[in-house]
């Protein structure tokens, strides 16, 4: 029962992938023209008309770092709630108490982390 539909979606995605890649390859090889005399500026990176300066993959600041850390933790926790939400009618109010305690325990540090993350000096 769990494996229901896996064959269909697998064949569908495989069909999509093969047809899309085949289309791109056909266009690249047979349809799109080739420039016989390319100028050296043609393949330079686009920088609003200026001559490109320095490498394209520059160093960058990981701004908003507290949000990224919180995302790693709380995205996984959101998944745990799905198992509970699916069986909520069977569990009822008494069966939900551990999940609610779990949520409260997690929401307090989330509030503190948000308090820290919303200060710009911490970015």
């Amino acid at each position: 029962m769990v494996a229901q539909g896996i064959l269909e979606i697998g064949s569908y995605v495989a069909f999509l992938f093969v047809s899309t890649v085949a289309l791109v390859i056909i266009l690249r090889l047979f349809v799109s023209p080739r420039d016989p005399r390319p100028t050296p500026e043609k393949k330079k990176p686009f920088e609003s008309g200026q001559i490109a300066a320095g490498p394209g993959r520059t160093r960058f600041i990981i701004q908003y770092y507290p949000y990224l850390l919180m995302f790693v933790v709380y995205d996984v926790i959101a998944m745990f709630l799905f198992a509970w939400g699916l069986n909520l009618r069977a569990l009822g109010a008494s069966g939900s108490i551990p999940v609610l305690v779990f949520l409260v325990v997690l929401l307090i540090p989330l509030g503190y982390a948000l308090h820290l993350a919303n200060h710009r000096e911490n970015w």
């Binding site: 229901q4 539909g5 979606i9 069909f15 999509l16 080739r34 686009f46 949000y67 995205d75 709630l81």
Partner: protein, 335 residues
């Protein structure tokens, strides 16, 4: 018939089998390509109407409806070159895979009873899990182009994902709690007594906002903000690859609007004098036009505004929605 065809019989059987017809014609590849192109035209037309312009006009039968097909033909005959020092394989494969992922979403949607490519038990989480990959592909596209604007756009996509991802999943959780199933066809059938838009009004609002952010459409189109970073991650794409980079936006618009009508608007349910497919497509079209109107109504948000709003306002509202849904489900078990 079988005797006449002889050795070709297996091929004819395969070509006329329901699964093959669904995969190739509707709701599969061909219909997705045509609907995606028509949505491109519709968006230009709706935006033009809002801004008191006319929009595409000349590639007609009616109102320039063939404009996107004309664009497709024009872009196909442009040179496909990759920029200097870029990673050509990933540069080409990232938007192509994005197109495949966008079209794969449509395969999970029930358009009518039985008219669904893959009826998976975990359809709703599978949909959201597939969509989670798309910011990674955008970062890959931006990184492989070896240019500054695409790279900034890719990083923005990554940061933006952290803002909307958790509210998106949690707003979908409300529907799962109400329906007691993750199967999309069963979620539709759970709405025979009433659409989920009423008990899940808050969840529907959060889902709409976060799905617009996921599709990277205005007001949340930070990775391709054309007035700030020159189309962002799409800046270096030539010819038909630019179309492949733009295409997933329209395919995802179609898939997300269909998912919204499945989750909150009762999907294919409706008065029986018209077929279920008609009601499904009508609801999808209404949601699509609503999302297109957001584009011409709101200005673009800043990245830090989006992160703060996503992590404080949207996340608190999503948790509040789960609390309300918990009280509804436990308090009124017959609902």
């Amino acid at each position: 018939m079988a005797a006449v065809l002889g050795p070709f019989q297996p091929i004819v059987d395969m070509l006329t089998s329901p699964l093959f017809v669904e995969i190739v014609l509707f709701p599969g590849l061909l219909s997705i390509a045509i609907i995606g192109a028509l949505l491109g035209w519709l968006e230009r037309k709706v935006t033009a109407r809002v801004q008191l312009r006319i929009g595409p006009l000349y590639a007609s039968p009616a109102g320039g409806i063939l404009q996107m097909f004309a664009d497709l033909i024009k872009l196909s005959f442009k040179e496909l070159f990759v920029p200097e020092n870029s990673d050509a394989f990933f540069f080409i494969m990232a938007p192509t895979t994005g197109l495949v992922l966008g079209a794969a979403l449509v395969g999970l949607i029930p358009f009518a009873p039985g008219l669904q490519i893959a009826n998976i038990e975990v359809g709703l989480p599978a949909f959201l899990a597939i969509i989670t990959l798309s910011p990674t592909l955008i970062l890959l596209a931006g990184w492989s182009a070896n240019s500054k604007f695409p790279f900034i756009g890719g990083l923005r996509a990554l940061f933006q994902q952290t803002a909307y991802e958790i509210p998106l999943w949690l707003s979908a959780l409300g529907v799962i709690m109400m329906a007691g199933t993750m199967n999309l066809a069963q979620i539709v059938n759970a709405q025979t007594s009433g659409w989920f838009i009423l008990p899940q009004a808050l969840g529907a609002f959060i889902f709409l906002v976060t799905s617009v952010a996921e599709m990277e459409r205005l007001p949340f189109d930070l990775p391709e903000a054309e007035s700030e970073i020159m189309m962002g991650w799409q800046a270096e794409y030539p010819g038909v690859l630019f179309l492949a980079a733009q295409g997933p936006g329209f395919v995802k618009l179609y898939a997300f609007s269909a998912l919204f009508s499945v989750m909150f608007l009762g999907g294919f349910l409706g008065p029986s004098f018209l077929p279920p497919l008609f009601w499904m497509l009508l609801k999808t079209l209404i949601v699509i036009v609503l999302i297109m109107l957001l584009r011409s109504t709101f200005p673009r948000v800043r990245l830090d505004q989006l992160l703060r709003a996503g992590w404080t306002t949207l996340l608190s509202l999503a948790i509040l929605n789960i609390g309300i849904t918990y009280l509804l489900v436990v308090g009124f078990p017959t609902l």
